[in-house]
Symmetry: C2
Subunit: 323 residues, 2 copies
């Protein structure tokens, strides 16, 4: 992260620290404070701040919007962690694990409402535009989560459906964050839509990269075990591509490999098939496709190239091309 991004991150951390939440009832608000302080990259609020800076020269105009998308993101994590039965988040106990199911549900609900409250610092048309975008995005994220869960028990998921799922579950909130920054920064509708599309395409590319790194990344770099998705037989872009491209024999071998108990052996055998089918190359191509569309969206925003530099840097940073 470069200094500019770090400064934005620090600003968000300080805003989160000074977020005024009541003391009581403690079982509602304590879990919120706990979850907000276990951290994260704060990517979404940073996007909102950058975007506002870009269009208005004042990142602080996006304070409420930035907080809103960050609180929303944390709401969705608290509920997703319940649905995914996850004991840990960023190495710390999840809310339903540290407290219980009911606390997880209700404090998630509370956080969603707090996300809406953050937008109260805006008025008039700006407020309305932010709310409409936020509502649309919020329901799309729920749809994405539902598709993700549906896919676990389906064996006919197409790559197209998968891309649509990650668009909804992850990418639209990045687009929303940027567009909110554009709205509060006074961008015209055309520019606001372009920065939205930039965010969505970047988000899709980023999620595909996430799948890619699970199989082809270096362990320390990605901060988790290589092959975790394979062990869990998760329907990633890679696995779905292998099913799409493999012949009958290869698909049989893939199914056999996925049923192996020994984790190391399982990962090795699946990777063998991925390599035979050139899945790494295919995945990089798909990633690049969305990355390129994102960059062209960015190119088309009617601002000086110099002004847009932070977003080009960010796109590089997200794809490990930081200089």
């Amino acid at each position: 992260m470069n200094n500019e991004l770090l400064a934005y991150k620090n600003y968000i951390e300080s805003q989160l620290n000074s977020l005024e939440l009541p003391e009581k009832p403690n079982q509602l608000y304590h879990p919120l404070r706990y979850f907000l302080q276990i951290g994260g990259k704060r990517m979404r609020p940073i996007l909102a701040l950058i975007s506002s800076q870009l269009f208005s020269g004042d990142f602080q105009k996006a304070r409420g919007a930035a907080m809103s998308v960050e609180l929303f993101h944390n709401f969705s994590l608290i509920h997703d962690d319940i649905m995914d039965n996850a004991p840990l988040r960023r190495g710390q106990e999840t809310v339903h694990e540290k407290w219980n199911l009911n606390v997880g549900i209700l404090s998630g609900d509370g956080l969603l409402i707090e996300a809406y409250k953050q937008l109260e610092e805006y008025d008039g048309d700006t407020f309305k535009k932010l709310l409409v975008l936020f509502n649309k995005t919020a329901i799309e994220v729920c749809e994405g989560q539902q598709y993700d869960m549906d896919f676990e028990t389906r064996d006919d998921v197409s790559i197209e459906e998968y891309i649509e799922m990650i668009r909804l579950k992850t990418a639209v909130l990045l687009g929303c964050s940027l567009k909110m920054g554009a709205i509060v920064g006074g961008a015209d509708e055309d520019n606001a839509n372009k920065i939205y599309e930039f965010g969505v395409n970047l988000g899709v590319a980023f999620q595909i990269q996430d799948d890619y790194l699970d199989s082809f990344g270096e362990g320390e770099k990605i901060g988790k075990q290589v092959g975790g998705d394979i062990i869990a037989a998760k329907k990633t872009y890679l696995l779905l591509s292998a099913y799409e491209d493999g012949n009958k024999k290869q698909i049989e071998r893939l199914n056999d490999a996925l049923s192996i108990e020994n984790k190391e052996e399982k990962v090795k055998r699946v990777l063998d098939i991925f390599n035979e089918l050139n899945i790494a190359e295919k995945t990089r191509r798909k990633m690049k496709e969305h990355h390129d569309v994102a960059i062209s969206n960015l190119d088309n925003i009617s601002l000086d190239q110099a002004t847009k530099k932070p977003l080009y840097s960010l796109a590089d940073f997200l794809f490990g091309r930081e200089h």
Copy 2:
């Protein structure tokens, strides 16, 4: 229910029936449609419509506000049913029971967002005012639910705390419904606040009546088993009053009675103590206290008495004094 209330209820049912929800993902939207059609009194949206009619002569101005409070109410029921482990709601399977926990959580989330979306038909100051009130109310309802859960495991709940809990969990949403109707109907702030207080006090009185009828109502009239709260040892206004008013001996007998396995015997023994302590009378007094404040709030609204008639009728209706 008189004809006017019935007409409002029918209007809401038709609006709910024509609510446009996407088809997919089916596991997200089907549970919403299912839950919305299992019915209910539609008290909250009716309040919004009446209030708008009162101040503007046009109940349809409150369409979005009415839908919003009804969808919010149903969101809270779906999540509460999970937290309370309830298998049935109005005689039909609850969402988490008919589908599963994850569907209950996510479709609840979706319904909360849809509740916000309903307000998009308003603009400018009206929109902002509605949102601010809605946010405040929504978080209060969550706080009320948390207190309610906290009380289950606490043995030092005061009557004051109990009243505050039912105010948050139930009454503020009634006040909010009326105030939203007032806002869209163009009421001034003073009148809007008075109708809010009318709703809150009516809600508290109504909830106390609910407790009262469980012990002292006639079975068929209340549509549930008399003594259900006693069997569940629920900390109602009555039980808390008995603990507050009873001497050491009586409290011991109360505790003994509550630990009896046989349901009939349990209810009988607890009712004996309620009768010794005059709990029925005390409860009716408290109910009347809030009912009277509600009526005086209504008296103070600066509109013709004739115009306000539907709300007087409603207050009578809710307390079984309908003529």
